[in-house]
Symmetry: C2
Subunit: 118 residues, 2 copies
DNA sequence: TGGTATAGTATACAAAAGGATACTAAGGGG
DNA sequence: CCCCTTAGTATCCTTTTGTATACTATACCA
């Protein structure tokens, strides 16, 4: 496994995953396969239309998701994860696992702080 | 493995890894264990002192690295990866592996583009 | 006729991240 | 006496990211 800095391809994945709402969008699409724009919006409290559109467009640019428009009124647009997008799952899982352990680490730290203050 | 959006801890790892120079700093320290400030600077072409200091401080904040000052003139400061920091390696490896495959994906895309243009 | 729903766009703004450059202390070498 | 080195700060600026708010078209429903 070549991970010398010169050959480092870590940024490729990072570049795709970075964005305030991208991980959660990907998790939802990984679990459901396909979701409408409005479903995503309802599933992600706090996101604005603009940001949802923006993050979806960026993921589409990278071939991580696809966008299917149904010519109806009112409009219907479905977003789906691609096979290629599914290949990101191991990374998201690794991050999730790490994050779960990290929660414990942070708890220990703040307890230490509490002890010191008392 | 719980990865429902509500329980998502992906952001924890992402928050630590995000930063233009953090992955490369971590890769260097994962390979060497310990490096001086100036060694890091020399190993990372294009980084400014300000950004190196900044990224190191943020990693230190998160207990991913430690900073050891030797009271000498000229100064000597060593940065080392912590045990906790080493736990990020699987994520970096997963990203690196994905990135390596991603390179092929991008090559295919641009070839398609070339064919279409011709 | 007015309200609802969908999937956006347009505009303006605020905040965060990153970059360029100059400056510092304090000992050693010429 | 001046310059070199190290590990930074300080200041200012630009770019990127994210937020808030208002606006659009068009069919359906009451």
């Amino acid at each position: 496994m070549e991970m010398q800095p010169e050959l480092c391809r870590v940024e490729d994945a990072l570049g795709i995953l970075v964005g305030k709402w991208k991980p959660i969008i990907l998790l939802i699409l990984l679990q459901n396969g396909t979701k409408r724009f409005s479903d995503l919006k309802r599933s992600i409290p706090g996101i604005t239309q603009k940001m949802l559109t923006n993050q979806l467009r960026e993921l589409e640019e990278e071939d991580i998701i696809t966008r299917k428009v149904y010519p109806q009124v009112p409009p219907k647009v479905e977003y789906s994860i691609t096979e290629y997008g599914k290949s990101l799952e191991p990374i998201l899982v690794a991050m999730h696992e790490w994050g779960t352990a990290h929660t414990l680490h942070k708890m220990k730290k703040s307890q230490q702080t509490l002890f010191r203050i008392e």
